[in-house]
Amino acid sequence: MNNDKRTAVPSSRKRRWHYSQGNALTFVSLCILAVIMLYPFLPMVSASLRSMQQYETGIGYSLKSWIFVLHNLPLPRELMNSTIVALGAIFLIIALSSMAGYAFGKLPFRTSHIFFVAIVASMMIPVLSMIIPEYVNISRIGLINQYPGAILVYAALGSPFATFLMTTYFRGIPDELLEAAVIDGLSYVKIFFRIMLPLGLPAIVTIIILQFITVWNDLLVGLLFLQNPAVRTVTVGIATLESVHVLNVPVLMAASLLSALPPIVVFLVFRRYLIAGLTMGMGK
């Protein structure tokens, strides 16, 4: 017994030392990774805080580039356009996907599984494979360079995943709850508005955040469907600020940072929902 104790103590101490040494190593590795992930933003921020002359000489800082972006570039207007398009698309997506998710999850009919698989499978269709017919269609109904045209396209692109997410979420709500509501005399429509929507709020918030970031950051749809500078979204505005390589770099960096700010703020505020949403689609 005594012998056992004597050998056990040093080995556990050794193990603990090993463990903390491992933690230190982990911490250092994570620090190195963090530098790699965040470092590229440093030249960006520092360049945006210089005028062109200061950027070239590398001496001094000023807010000239930021002021130029806000006063001489159409960025405020473009930020507005992005907001309008994103909100419109989000509204359509939520309306569609919550109702579809309710139907697929709680009111399945005979062939609903086929429709569900078709919708999930449509997520895998490359955007560029369908954007050409989509472009032809939207231009035929005269919605090129109009908010509703782009909103429709974004809603169509975002709805499949949202429907998938809402279906999985609603499926997890116990059937007894609905049965009790039916016995109490609630119609299926009332059940949707009074029970399913409030209970589905976490999933809805996740969809809102994911879609906001997706629509805000999209280039292709905006580039094709909102070509007119008056309706152009901010991501398209940044991408088309003449050739990236020759333009006034500090101005370009300030504009890029400004355009990235809303998604970053949304991410920092709703981080938990966003990360939950990414794993929610996976189930457990």
Partner: protein, 238 residues
């Protein structure tokens, strides 16, 4: 009309040149998965500040490809940060001016910005694993590396598979904006992927027919991937 669109496409050397670029993207996917997997493993040890690290790693994911492209150009192009460093050794070079380095730069930007979302999926996967497994491994005297290879990786197989497909889909159908901002597909066809070629054909050359044909080819490629993807997504439903 008919199949002539396809026969002329498949005999076009440019088409194969572009498909080769897609092939190189495919080769980069294991790297795009291994690094986040390692990071997720480190994060779930919950050392001091792990929440900060998690957010920091995820940050590039919420930023648009357009801005990421801008950042990458600042780092890698002519007057970029990397070149200022390299010119200390007399190695100054504009990496975006040559086909192979340009494609590598695009792949680096791609891996960098996808790092966060791949990592989060792995963290989600690790959260489903019983902590007793690690405890048992530690008692058995397995070191961290062994635990990683013999416990974490096999148990996360489904998540690795899922991430592989997701990364592949992004690489083949989601890189348009990055290429648009960084190289515009050039130099030559050095960084033109199938996806970007569709856009060029349709909206630069006005060849909508050829573009639609290419769109079908890309769709068929992705459909093959989908055949693996759907059962994976629906597995738990039945």
């Amino acid at each position: 009309m008919g199949l002539s669109n396809y026969t002329s496409l498949f005999s076009d050397p440019i088409f194969w040149r572009i498909l080769a670029n897609n092939g190189i993207l495919l080769l980069s996917i294991p790297i795009a998965i291994m690094i986040p997997l390692g990071a997720a493993f480190l994060l779930q040890r919950h050392v001091t500040g792990w929440k900060f690290f998690q957010s920091a790693f995820y940050l590039p994911t919420v930023i648009s490809w357009v801005v990421i492209g801008m950042v990458a150009v600042q780092v890698f192009a002519g007057h970029g940060v990397l070149n200022r460093f390299l010119s200390l050794f007399g190695l100054h070079q504009n990496m975006l001016a040559h086909p192979v380095p340009a494609l590598i730069v695009i792949i680096i930007a791609f891996i960098w910005s996808l790092f966060g979302s791949n990592m989060v999926i792995f963290i989600g996967g690790m959260a489903t694993m019983a902590p007793e497994l690690y405890e048992a491994a530690r008692i058995d005297g397995a070191n961290e590396l062994k635990t990683f290879w013999h416990i974490t990786v096999p148990l996360l197989r489904r998540f690795i598979q899922f991430n592989f497909i997701l990364t592949l889909i992004t690489a083949f159908t989601g890189l348009f904006s990055l290429i648009f901002v960084m190289t515009g597909g050039g130099p030559g066809f050095g960084t033109t992927t199938l996806e970007f070629f569709i856009y060029q054909q349709a909206f630069d050359s006005g060849a909508f027919g050829e573009a639609a044909t290419l769109g079908v080819v890309l769709f068929v490629l992705m459909f093959a991937v989908t055949l693996f993807q759907v059962p994976l997504l629906l597995r738990e439903d039945d």
